[in-house]
């Protein structure tokens, strides 16, 4: 990305003390991103981290790049302005499940449909961390918190399904406990031209500790999850012995040999959606990895292209000419 290939992870660390709770999943994600930046040889002066409000949204302060810690839920809108103003900037959005899917839901879906060329890292801890533990739009039905003492009655969003419903061009899921997987997903997202949505399952050790352990704890993960790898067979299981394949309207477990090859780049996003819906089926593994990855018009580029085109077609605007245009008359 630049000639600064000699930079190390440390060069992406700012001088500010990192202030998350000890044990918080955010630390590992921060470290993974800093490492990723160094590895791809990013130029810190071309990178902007934009965030809303939440524990996760403190992220920009810890990156030795440009950063804008904005207001709750609106980061995608700020990013839209930043990218449109300067498509050269490498924009990363850091947000939480509350920031992105509660107050910020609208900006989130619109940024995805516009396919703004940026990376959206959503730290999904299924809770509002910063405000001390209320349920979020990704908390499961029945979740008991201070604001849902008898259990939440709201049916949650499935973040990947929502992103696909919003016409997103890239959607992936990864895990704060797996630095390698994060690295792989971050690279794919970074390479994607367009809005790359990455859901990161993140442990809030204070208010929703280990919420994901039933699915992703070391001992169950191989059986309970599947890694969607573009162009590879959909295989899972402790011995990689199982696979997934479509059958009619459904997807079903089969042997590894019988497994279908995963293609996140089909014209229709229906296959990706089918995968995302497996989360709700106890008989099927929860997918991680790349759900969707297709090319489409990027808003920020197109905005600027139209300007170039207009200039090419009509010549650069001359203000005097513009003012003097129309029906003028003289008084003397």
């Amino acid at each position: 990305m630049s000639n600064q290939a000699t930079l190390t992870k440390k060069d992406f660390q700012s001088d500010q003390e990192v202030r998350w709770c000890p044990g918080c999943g955010d630390y590992v994600i921060l470290s993974a991103i800093q490492k990723h930046m160094a590895e791809v040889g990013a130029d810190p002066s071309k990178v902007v981290f934009v965030s809303g409000i939440g524990c996760s949204s403190r992220f920009p302060y810890y990156m030795n790049t440009y950063g804008f810690h904005t207001i709750h839920g609106r980061a995608p809108a700020f990013a839209t302005g930043i990218k449109a103003a300067n498509p050269e900037l490498d924009v990363w959005l850091v947000t939480g499940d509350g920031d992105a899917m509660s107050i910020g839901g609208n900006h989130f879906i619109h940024a995805l449909r516009r396919n703004l060329n940026m990376n959206v890292l959503m730290f999904n801890n299924q809770i509002y961390g910063l405000t001390k533990g209320q349920y979020s739009p990704t908390s499961p039905e029945g979740k008991k918190t201070k604001t849902s003492p008898m259990g939440a009655i709201d049916r949650p969003f499935n973040p990947i399904s929502l992103a696909l419903g919003a016409n997103g061009t890239f959607a992936a899921r990864t895990l704060d406990t797996d630095s390698k997987h994060m690295a792989k997903v971050f690279s794919a997202a970074h390479n994607h031209q367009g809005a790359a949505f990455v859901e990161i399952l993140q442990n809030c050790v204070i208010f929703n500790k280990d919420f994901y352990n039933d699915t992703v704890a070391k001992d169950v993960r191989a059986e309970k999850t599947i890694d969607l790898i573009p162009g590879e067979k959909m295989i899972f299981g402790t011995e990689s012995e199982k696979g997934l394949r479509v059958n009619g309207w459904d997807v079903e477990v089969c042997s590894a040999e019988e497994a279908d090859v995963w293609d996140p780049g089909t014209d229709s996003s229906a296959p990706a959606f089918l995968m995302s819906q497996m989360d709700d089926d106890p008989n099927l593994p929860m997918p991680l990895g790349i759900f969707r990855q297709v090319e489409a018009t990027c808003y920020d580029k197109a905005v600027n292209q139209q300007i170039d085109e207009a200039v090419a077609n009509e010549g650069p605007g001359d203000l005097k000419e513009l003012i003097w245009s129309g029906n003028c008359w003289e008084i003397d």
């Binding site: 700012s14 500010q16 810190p44 002066s45 071309k46 902007v48 981290f49 934009v50 920009p60 302060y61 990156m63 030795n64 790049t65 440009y66 950063g67 804008f68 810690h69 904005t70 207001i71 609106r74 995608p76 809108a77 700020f78 990013a79 839209t80 302005g81 930043i82 990218k83 449109a84 103003a85 300067n86 050269e88 900037l89 609208n106 900006h107 619109h110 905005v303 600027n304 139209q306 300007i307 085109e309 207009a310 200039v311 077609n313 009509e314 010549g315 650069p316 605007g317 203000l319 005097k320 513009l322 003012i323 003097w324 129309g326 029906n327 003028c328 008359w329 003289e330 008084i331 003397d332």
Partner: protein, 618 residues
């Protein structure tokens, strides 16, 4: 008994100083076009003029109903005029609804040109009239010219291939032709305009031109009128090149000009809303100027995208009206805290909540000055007319970049859609205010202030200047700080910075004596009306002067001294006394008299002169 005007054979040409004419018809009757064409032609003739379009609420009302009436009033004059006129001399009424809705404003003895073809029983019913106003005495005391325009247009276009419906749609040009004849206006401008407008549909050019000519000829042939009039060209206007411009067009030009003077690319984030929408539309058409426009999902996204653009080193702009302003408050606070330039264009409309979106009011002033959480000061400017809007917009851009602050620009529906002759500015005389981005890390601090209290602007992408900012309280380095003294100090600095803006204002101009019995202080679109009212009052021997406030916040430093010269200060506003409240809170020792009007209509000159008279006689 209604006085029906009999055609006479003598047609004297009488000179008039000023005429106020109002075209009124159904929304579908093309009255706005008729009015604009009359305006354009009058401008080219060399009259001074002022216009007042007045169209119905946003939904197209059923044909022929009162809510569907669309009006366009203009005053054209051989003198220096300032308003579209309180009461029309002439009303052109295309149907019963248009007649009844507008009749009460007409001058006693005024002229009514009515399209009798639209006064059938069904027409009356649509206008909810039990009797025919042409016959029931409603028009007693007016001079009435009945013309069956519906029929005349069919006659005039008898040879055309157009459908009957399409022919009927030409009736506004017939009417316009008729009025051109009455006021001795040339047809060329409109003829040319039609040729360009319908370039792709020659049959429409032809039909409408015929209609115009037929209307004009009708004046002669049918001897409808007792006389013709002439309003000579004015000497009051300064020499130069003119064109018509409405407020939203002027703002769009102002944004482009302001950004050029700053050396920045303007980036507009907006969401359509009446009456601000056309700013977005105007700017969207200016891509060759490098203007980026983004129609976003809502007003919050719009202002945030604009702030994002400023963060990235462009001039962020957002345009909206009252309800949209209310939504932007939180984000505006971030711009104050982060100290980023931002131009917020609020084209005010009437009422709380949705209110009356197509009507005029000035009731967003307090919201503009105070409507945010925390102590969140922000400069506020207001335009006084379409042409003034350009200058004020440019000045708002200057303040935004010079002081690294969001700036609110207030206009209203009257300015936005009204148009006036605009003396084209000499662009070379405009003062540049080029932005210098900080690039040198040496001694640089994110919130280190210059003499004006402003901070440096760093453009992301600049090597070795990476910074992080946000809405949490921060210290001079931009790092988060909860330190009590720091918060006090940053709060004070933000306030002082905005106060410093007043140091860059030109001296307040008092029109009239600097000492007197009453000062009339106006702001926004009432300027013309107040101007006329103070002229009239002075002519009536009253010791009245006038100040127009362009900078609503912070107030000019010399205002206190100006006020010292007067026993009282009258503040007419189209709201419940909002500026008066601000003035009192800042300069409680002066005697402010609030004059409030909240009808969705501009003040009349007579309302203000009477108010002045009442005050001075008591």
């Amino acid at each position: 008994m209604t006085t029906i005007q009999q055609p006479g054979s003598e047609l004297p040409l009488q000179q008039l100083e000023s005429v106020v004419i109002r075209f009124a018809g159904d929304s579908g009757d093309g009255m706005q076009i008729t009015g604009s064409q009359f305006t354009m032609t009058s401008a080219l003739v060399g009259n001074d003029l002022a216009t007042l379009p007045d169209f119905p609420a946003e939904i197209r009302a059923p044909v022929g109903t009162r809510p569907g009436v669309s009006g366009f009033q203009l005053q054209f004059s051989a003198n220096d005029i300032h308003t579209p006129g309180d009461a029309p001399d002439v009303l052109v009424a295309m149907n019963p609804a248009a007649l009844v809705v507008n009749l009460s404003t007409l001058k006693p003895g005024g002229l009514v040109v009515v399209n009798t073809g639209s006064f059938k029983a069904t027409d009356l019913r649509k206008a909810r009239l039990e009797t025919n106003p042409l016959e029931d005495g409603s028009l007693d005391g007016f001079r009435v010219i009945p013309v069956d325009i519906n029929q005349r247009i069919l006659d005039a276009l008898a040879d055309s291939e157009l459908s009957k419906k399409d022919k009927a749609r030409c009736k506004n040009f017939y009417t316009l032709g008729l009025m051109y004849w009455v006021y001795s206006r040339p047809l060329e401008t409109t003829m040319e305009w039609l040729a360009v407008k319908f370039a792709k549909k020659p049959d429409l050019v032809d039909a409408n031109q015929k209609a115009l000519q037929a209307g004009y000829n009708a004046g002669d042939i049918h001897e409808l009128f007792q006389g013709r009039y002439e309003v000579p060209k004015t000497d009051a206007l300064p020499a130069g090149t003119y064109r018509n411009i409405n407020g939203n067009q002027a703002v769009a030009l102002g944004v482009v000009a302001g950004a050029q003077l700053a050396g920045l690319r303007p980036v507009l984030g907006s969401y359509p809303i009446t009456p601000a929408s056309t700013i977005l539309e105007e700017l969207a058409a200016l891509k060759r100027f490098g203007v980026i426009t983004m129609q976003l999902e809502d007003e919050i996204a719009a202002v945030c995208a604009a702030i994002g653009a400023s963060f990235a080193g462009c001039l962020g702009v957002t345009s909206t009206s009252g309800p949209g302003m209310a939504l932007k408050g939180e984000a505006m606070g971030l711009a104050v805290s982060a100290e980023l330039p931002l131009l917020i264009l609020d084209i005010q409309r009437a009422g709380p909540s949705t209110g009356m979106p197509t009507k005029v009011e000035q009731s967003d002033l307090l919201q503009a000055v105070f409507g945010r959480n925390g102590d969140t000061p922000m400069p506020v400017l207001a335009a006084s007319s379409p042409a003034d809007a350009l200058e004020v917009t440019i000045d708002a851009c200057r303040i935004a970049v010079e002081f690294m602050t969001p700036v609110i620009f207030l206009s209203d529906n009257f300015i936005a859609n009204g148009s006036e002759p605009w003396l084209l500015p000499d662009l070379d005389t405009l003062k540049e205010f080029p932005v210098e981005f900080a690039t040198n890390p040496e001694g640089h601090q994110t919130y280190k202030r210059d003499g004006k209290g402003s901070r440096p602007w760093v453009k992301p992408g600049t090597p070795n200047m990476a910074f992080r900012i946000g809405g949490l309280e921060k210290d001079t380095d931009g790092n988060i700080s909860y330190d009590p003294d720091n918060h006090q100090s940053m709060t004070d600095q933000r306030h002082q910075k905005v106060q410093n803006v007043a140091n860059t204002y030109p001296p307040t101009e008092v029109v009239g004596e600097t000492k007197g019995d009453l000062l009339v202080l106006g702001w926004g679109s009432s300027k013309g009306i107040i101007t006329q009212a103070t002229i009239d009052s002075r002519q009536a021997g009253r010791r009245v002067s006038r100040v127009h406030l362009r900078n609503v916040w912070p107030l000019p430093n010399d205002l206190d001294e100006v006020f010292d010269g007067f026993k009282a200060i009258l503040v007419p506003e189209m709201n419940v006394g909002q500026l008066a409240r601000v003035l009192r809170s800042e300069m409680p020792h002066h005697n402010f008299i609030s004059y409030s009007k909240v009808t969705g209509q501009p003040f009349l000159v007579s309302e203000i002169t009477e108010k002045i008279a009442t005050i001075l006689e008591n």
